[in-house]
Amino acid sequence: MMLAVKILLIIIFTPLAGGLLTGFDRKISARLQGRQGPPVLQPFYDVLKLLQKETIEVNPSHRFYVYVSLMFIILTALIMLTGGDILLTIFVLTLGSIFFLLGGYASQSPYSVLGAERELLQMMAYEPMMFMTAAGLYYVSNTFFIRDIVNRKMPAIIYLPAIFVGFVFILTFKLRKSPFDLSLGHHAHQELVQGISTEYSGRSLAFIEITHWYETIIALGFVYIFFAADSIGTHILAVIVCLIVYLFEIILDNSTVRVKWQKALSLAWLVSGVLGTANLVVLSFFNF
């Protein structure tokens, strides 16, 4: 019973928080650009509008993947926020992303396919770091369970500073922010039109937005895990750090160009390789 309530709460509040964050993001971005910006609730208006609109399809199956993707992302959020296994979280998250990009392929529309291709490339670029993040967390806490990781004496960040930096680096991919918004730029115009989401309209597009909200929270959830430990203080700190990281991403988004894929791939792999390996090696040297 408790679990059911918890699940329900997670399903409802995660996107709300994510949407709110996105709203603040748009507001802050606008301010950084010297504009007034939309109301904070704008993302919700957008989604509600999209839900009311007609949903066009280009073939019977392409919309379907978006829904499956959303389901898996929700599952990810559930696993993560109930303190489940971190590797499983990553795997299911990957699954969700894979389905999202399959939707791009399924529409068989030029820009969707190009977008899907780039999305795949981005996944390849950030996946090693995700993997190493899990590895690092396991290394220091000897468990894959998030609820155990966040209940240790010391927050993991103390042992994993480099991995944390690397993770924040690849977070940009997940949040689809410049410099790594190759496959689907949210607002800036780019060569792929709207990438994977090109062919989606109305309800399916709304679901893509909602998926993104979940993803935002999941992405920040990882940041949280780095900082939380068994005292309340660290949990508050973790939330603050999440917000700071998000703010940092906004500023980064507004002060960089979109890089090309070669650069995105090599940068991400290099950063993950160097930071991840270094951190793990140092840890094993001190023999945790």
Binding site: A30, R31, L32, R35, L252
Partner: protein
């Protein structure tokens, strides 16, 4: 080599606050010279037809008999050429532009017949 060099401008604009003019909540003051829309002091008009002939888009129309001078608002490019050629100088360029509308607007100016 400089990364995040944009941040300076970004923070400046945070400090400065938005540059947005709050249109339409705060209506805009147009400049004196702003080319908005053509007005006719119809009472002075002699319906010579200079303006209709010279208007490059054919937005103007006169009806000498009914003493009507009319302008297709959605056709006028605000070039002001009619103002230039009008012998009576009864046309002038107002600095308020025509508002968008759901259909094409045509404004009629009819002179009181009795005057002439």
């Amino acid at each position: 080599m400089s990364i995040l060099s944009m941040t300076k401008t970004l923070f400046k604009s945070i400090v400065h606050g938005p540059y947005t003019e709050n249109y339409p909540a705060k209506p805009r003051e147009n400049y004196e010279r702003t080319r908005g829309s053509i007005e006719n002091d119809i009472e002075d008009c002699i319906f010579c037809g200079m303006c209709t002939r010279q208007c490059p888009t054919g937005a103007l129309e006169i009806d000498k008999g009914e003493k009507r001078w009319s302008i297709e608002r959605m056709q006028c490019i605000q070039c002001g050429y009619c103002v230039n050629v009008c012998p009576k100088k009864c046309l002038h360029m107002r600095n308020q532009y025509t508002a968008p509308d759901t259909e094409k607007v045509k404004d009629d100016y009819v002179a009181r017949i009795s005057d002439h």
